[in-house]
Amino acid sequence: MALDSQKTEGFKQIGTRPDRPDGVDKVTGRARFGADMTAPGMLWGVIVRSPHAHARIVKIDTSKAEAMEGVKAVVTRADFSDAITPAPGMRGEMWNVLENVMADEKALYDGHAVAAVAATSQLAARDAAKAITVQYEVLPHVTDVDKAMEDGAPVIRDGTAEASVPEGMHPNVVRYHESGQGDLDAGFAAADLVIEETFKTEATHQGYIEPHACLATLGGDGKGELWCCTQGHWNVQKVCAALLGLETSQLRVTASEIGGGFGGKTAVFIEPVALALSRKANKPVKLVMTRSEVFRSTGPTASTSMDVKIGMTKDGTITAAQGIFRCQGGAFPGAPMEFTAMCSFAPYNLKAVKQIGYDVMTNRPKQAAYRAPGSPMAAFAVESVIDELCNKLGLDPIDTRLKNASREGTQANFGPKWDRIGLVETLEAAKAHPHYATPLKPGQGRGISCGFWFNHGGETAVMLALSEDGTAQLAVGTPDIGGSRASMAMMAAEELGIPYENVRCTIADTASLGYNEISHGSRVTYASGLATIEAARDAVKKLCARAAAKWGIPEDAVKWEDGCAVPSGPNAGDHDPLPLAKITAKMGATGGPIVGHFEATPEGAGVSFATHIVDAEVDQETGKTNVSRYTVVQDAGKAIHPTYVEGQFQGGAAQGIGWALNEEYIYGEDGRLQNAGFLDYRIPVASDLPMIDTVIVEVPNPGHPYGVRGVGETSICPPLAAIANAVSNAAGVRLKQLPMSPPRILKALGKHG
């Protein structure tokens, strides 16, 4: 999208750090999250889940449960729409969602839902769930991505593969991606050193602290209300309507406060089940996942197996690069292998590059987006090889990356030419940072990595209604997952020229705005921000028109300055500035309500690059890693509320540290998840981490009125590689598998076994 007027300085609000509007609610316990809502006459729902990784469902006996005191409804797959049919690959996505929400003929992973019950109390529902007996015929299973591609591996679902998958591959390989350019053979031949390595990463979970929760009401008349914690309630509305055979508009969905999502709450899991129970019982049903259910049954990210080959000359020029990325995304298509492939070499200007991706199905839960889905793993593999090349050739890791860096006009590894981008600026800022100049202590290693994420625009609708007293009500449709209401209110206040405190931003329900895409792809501050600015400008235009009418001059002879309509141009005449509140005070008598709108699909989301610096030390006797210093440098385009931008940088780094060192899905021989809780799924705790330093680089995005780029996701792209490089440099041995757990590091050090 070409913008006729971009403003990147001279702001009154933008770049300041006001208190968030929902702050008091959240520090007093008043804020209502998914599980905090109740309804009169409400029942509690509980889902029965498969204990098997792969099993045919022979029989489900619900009779004992149904006879129990307080039980009001039991549902199975038969209670959902049968109008949705399977199709290959992502074309059958709605059927895939239905199949994931409630199993049909087969349970496809440990934790797959097979039935559900609603009763008058949570305890009664739990007791009833235990009384539902399911007879299974256990089938062979596979959970590892490489094993799932081997001849003879159990077939998850035949006929799922898209036509693009090369012939002769196992039916579990369901989608294929290939992109690149140039002559690889010539490129590798021109290199002084070629390194080719294989890397593996385990699946990690988004690890939001709030389990999925919803409160559903659905009557036999097909009219429903749904309250849930989600990153995208219009998507929930659309999916639930399809799965239950409802008219979309008859289901009103309200997004609760959301206790973390990171991509994991872009998908629908329990909401259709709660609605089905409610429809059957004709009462509201509350359904809240346990932590164990969250780990077993919602989407972790893909696990990967990757081969990366890079050639470099002695002066640090990359001559050719190739990556093969095998990603498993559970028992359904959708592992983000094309993102893995496309992000892999995005930071570099490459004449010869090729990337291949495979989407592989296994007996694991359906993967869901996790903060820049697919990109962090690619960076781990690619940036590790670059680090190794730098080590072997005696090159500085930042200078080498600068030498090969993508810039404006560079042809990207996956085709298009880059617009204005800020990679070089992040590398230069990292090089100039005191961290990079600080000498390492004995036993420490330093790691550098770049990272890339596309960012996204997407369907967006915003409404800004002015009140008689001159304040503004801003309704946006993207759930606030990290303080976005503050930045929306700041942008509206900036445009209207009124104090920040005079704008109240709320997340509207599905009945109050047009369709809004999910809060994903780092799109909120970009797309809802753009929409807010445009809606405010629409309101300003109407305010100017009222002033023009009052003054009896043409509308184009009025302009908006500092919250006032002022006459502009030679024939406008001499009128005192008319403040916003004076116009709105009379709006009832001068044409009625003044409301600004924006409904469109912004397509100018600028990509974002980052460079991270990490220092780590490794206990050579136990293999334990300590991250001692961490610096994030990232291009934000324009930081609307810098404190929350820093928060995104720090949060992504912290999640990356967990992914790199300790977090992993551990499956037993029986295909069951061994660590479905925060005790053994080890996310970083406060005492694990250092302070995380941040540098906000601002290279304006040409596609946003103020130059905003999304910042939420790029921050998790470099940490895996940056930490792996630091740990490898500290340990003196290259770590090629995540997590770099103490047993794995000790083994690499050759200290045992």
Binding site: N662, Q674, F678, D680, V685, D688, P743, L746, H752
Partner: protein, 285 residues
């Protein structure tokens, strides 16, 4: 589930003896409630012992020994002005269990009777030579701590029996104890390996030692060979190497989600050396 709050250990023992199905005793609840919530164990009878008089007391006896009530929390142990001077390793081991929140509730007795081979307070309890009072239908007897665990999640207590007090011996002259564990994070994990050391010195020479390992066998294990490796030495490098070798040799661990056989075996030796050095320094004052 029936919930009882008896006023005496004798009443508690009687309720337990008469109960049908699964019985659990509730002190800090940090294991019982987790098992209940996770559908692992739903007791038919739950006996809360905290209403019994004296269960929150920490008492230093005339001979210098200590008696700890069964509901004494980790936080109460850490905050006690004297216990940590005598037995810093024991107090530190207890303090390692879980979060600040868990410390407000978790107890030595619960940690022992939960029967986990990875229980943090148990190796050092073994090393101190602690005993427990066990009250049952036939009265109260005193049992060595190392006779309580029987295997993962199991104890040697009979139906109707419960631990009614913990006794820690007098510290005496020239003594020092220590506990170290390996966890992948800095907090909140279950020990992958744990090592408790208690020793006594005469001048620079170690005259007595008891060493126990956690998470390397079906129960916490005393390792007499490890103790023998350092008794009579000044904890020089050769003694430390012998200690590490003896500790590793005593390991009979499993591969699981927390660690491998090789890792546990190796790190048991590393921790034994490190813990012995701390205990030795403490013993020398």
């Amino acid at each position: 589930m029936q919930y009882h709050t008896p006023a005496t250990f004798e009443d508690a023992a009687k309720i337990a003896f008469d109960a049908q199905g699964i019985t659990r005793f509730l002190a800090g609840g940090t294991d019982v409630l987790v098992q209940l919530r996770s559908d692992l164990v739903e007791p038919d009878t739950l006996i809360d012992v905290k209403k019994i008089e004296g269960t929150n007391n920490i008492t230093k006896n005339a001979d210098g020994s200590w008696t700890l009530g069964v509901a004494v929390s980790g936080a109460e142990m850490s905050e006690h002005p004297e216990l940590g001077n005598d037995w810093p390793g024991l107090v530190e081991a207890m303090d390692l269990i879980g979060s600040t929140q868990v410390q407000g509730r978790a107890t030595l007795t619960g940690n022992l009777c939960n029967g986990s081979p990875a229980a943090d307070s148990v190796p050092v309890m073994f090393a101190t030579g602690a005993t427990v009072s066990v009250t049952g239908p036939d009265g109260t007897r005193e049992v060595a701590v190392e006779d309580i665990p029987a295997g993962p999640g199991k104890t040697n207590l009979a139906k109707g029996e419960l631990v009614s007090a913990i006794h820690i011996p007098p510290r005496g002259q020239g003594g020092g104890d220590a506990y170290l564990r390996f966890i992948p994070r800095t907090e909140m994990d279950i020990a992958v390996v744990g090592c408790g050391v208690n020793l006594r010195v005469d001048g620079d020479t170690i005259t007595e030692a008891r060493i126990a390992l956690g998470a390397v066998a079906p129960t916490v294990v005393l390792v007499p060979d490890a103790a023998a490796a350092i008794v009579g030495t000044k904890l020089d490098d050769a003694a430390l190497d012998a200690l590490a070798a003896a500790a590793s040799a005593a390991c009979n661990p499993i591969d699981d989600k927390r660690g491998t056989v090789e890792f546990r075996t190796h790190v048991a030796g590393v921790l034994a050396k490190r813990a012995a050095k701390i205990a030795y320094d403490r013993a020398k004052g």
